[in-house]
Symmetry: C3
Subunit: 264 residues, 3 copies
């Protein structure tokens, strides 16, 4: 799938936060996608019309960019391109949680990409987040993911020590990656747009595309951690891996494996 992504070079429209916008654009370019980062309501519709996928991220949300997201989201829906939502720090403030619910109601989201703490906030579950980081809790993450996937009819991708992807029926687990990935700001944000780029080249199988995106990303993380174990240099080793990792997918497809899927 990465090979066809690099051939197609899908245009990914990102409405994202100013903390990670550079890293996200560089990550998409390294991957082989073509980022558009405009976030003004004045051009949200036209930019979404140019795109092959839309990636929404509420990391430094305000009323203006929320408006852009609604407009771009509806445009993406009418055009039939995938929409990924990254609900950064979902439980941190009522403004964020309200915005997420508005987005989930007014826009047809294809994939919700989050961490366990954000998922718990959306589900209204008991969870102790750490600022905008994942934190910890006693809720069953698999169960929460399944519920949210069914409730909103979308794919939920929860990253953590073991990533999970579910469409509300099957759950795929991705036990790869490295803890170093949480030492770089925007690793989750960039992943969400990488998922958008993978969806753009395989929208007919969004569950497969999402799972492959997470596997590819985790593999890049593991390879970069062989270059450096320190966050500054790891960050750029990771961008390098996004550009050069082949994953051999076209020869030997990494697909949903029977042993890690369990039907419900």
């Amino acid at each position: 799938m990465i090979a066809s992504l690099r051939t197609k070079q899908p245009v990914v429209h990102c409405i994202t936060n100013h903390v990670v916008s550079n890293f996200q654009a560089n990550g998409l370019l390294a991957l082989g996608a073509s980022p558009i980062m405009g976030d003004a309501p004045e051009e949200a519709e036209e930019l979404a019309l140019l795109a092959d996928a839309l990636s929404l991220n509420i990391g430094t949300l305000n009323k203006v960019t929320l408006n852009s997201m609604i407009v771009a989201g509806k445009t993406a829906n009418s055009k039939g391109i995938p929409v990924v939502l990254d609900p950064v720090g979902a439980g941190a403030t009522s403004f964020r949680l309200t915005a997420i619910h508005q987005l989930l109601e007014e826009v047809d989201i294809t994939v919700l990409r989050c961490n366990a703490g954000e998922l718990a906030a959306i589900a209204g579950a008991d969870w102790q987040a750490k600022g905008v980081d994942a934190g910890q809790g006693n809720v069953d993450v698999n169960e929460m993911a399944l519920q949210i996937a069914r409730k909103y009819k979308l794919i939920v991708a929860v990253t953590g020590e073991t990533d999970i992807v579910t469409n509300g029926e099957a759950i795929e687990k991705i036990p790869y990656g490295t803890p170093l990935m949480s030492s770089v700001t925007g690793m989750g944000c960039l992943l969400s747009s990488v998922v958008a780029a993978f969806l753009a080249v395989s929208l007919v199988e969004p569950m497969v595309a999402t799972t492959e995106a997470l596997r590819f990303y985790a593999l890049c993380g593991e390879k970069a951690s062989e270059i450096s174990q320190r966050p500054g240099s790891f960050q750029f080793a990771f961008l390098d891996e996004l550009a050069s990792t082949e994953q051999g997918i076209d020869n030997e497809p990494i697909r949903l494996e029977e042993d890690v899927i369990w039907k419900l």
Copy 2:
């Protein structure tokens, strides 16, 4: 010219997009210039008054920053400092194209620094852009650049496989650089402010200053590509080269060469 730039350390006021603002500021610092990045209308005039050059970039434009650009641009004009406009994604939305034409009409732009797709959008020519990237078309880029340079009485610098610089009379070609430069977000944006910094130390010869800026930049790209061929590490190797490349200009001036200029 780079030596006098490092001695004078010109203050370059950048009103730019949040995707590249960090890279642009770091690039200017590495070069030896002194960046000011404030973009609020509340201080646009005062910041422009402190500057030796103004660099405008519409990458994540909105109504507020457009207003800042107009105010800063008029201040720069009244003060007689150079103004560089980078019309990022010119053809992507009507908001951008309208803003560019407003800037071209209300502000005396010294150099328009763009890619072929953006130039085509400004010229109203038939061109297929790829999101906000250059894309391709059948129009003669040289001819377009000459027309725009004459129409708006400015210098047009179009980057691509071979860069061109024209004042509407002569065309200088710069066949240097590396394709890696398009794998890092903001390489064009940073170039536009590097042009502004070069203009600040040689405003009497803007055509020469622009051409030297593009040559210097392309040379830094080539040198960085000898350090790394991968986008993450290339990005920082490039900043390193901006800081250390001497170009031997003072000993052996790189100036407009007769053989690559053709009078019209």
Copy 3:
């Protein structure tokens, strides 16, 4: 102190400029802190309530983020967490200077972290700044710092060739660091939030915490300069050092040394 910081992982709420927000978040993560970067007035109060320290930076200030800063600052005060103010380019515009005075009056600032030019602007002293950089002047920086510390009842930390920290009574001098630190944008901005993180784990001794933060930071700079003398690679070597430098503080505390304190 760095060991207890890494154990406690304090949440630092940063309302900062878009040029350095990525570097600041990555620096805090590398250090072992947990950054929150939301800057909208809609959530300023709730985010500050989640935080262990607040870091305010006016680098690309506008009316909206100034409002966020006031709200978050008052919330931090009522909660009793430390507040660090970084008055970037204080003397550059009247908008900045007015905003700084408003913040100093309406919010109880714990530490003012600035360069000599910014301090002079706040003090109303005669000084020639270079854009938003420090510049130079004939005023006695020690005397200015003492005056401002007494006037606003806060700690003043002025960075430069030799850093100074004063609470209006004692002055601590930190003659470490490397000139390379001024070749990377946001080094001062990140330092301000590092001070906030140190304060969060030692609020009872803010003078000690601030001094240790500056020493730790300068030490990381010196160590990174042994990795690279060029600004691109230095930047990431510096993040690496923030993550790995131990400083042996817990075994052999780096505290206010008698020989560098002089009582007034």
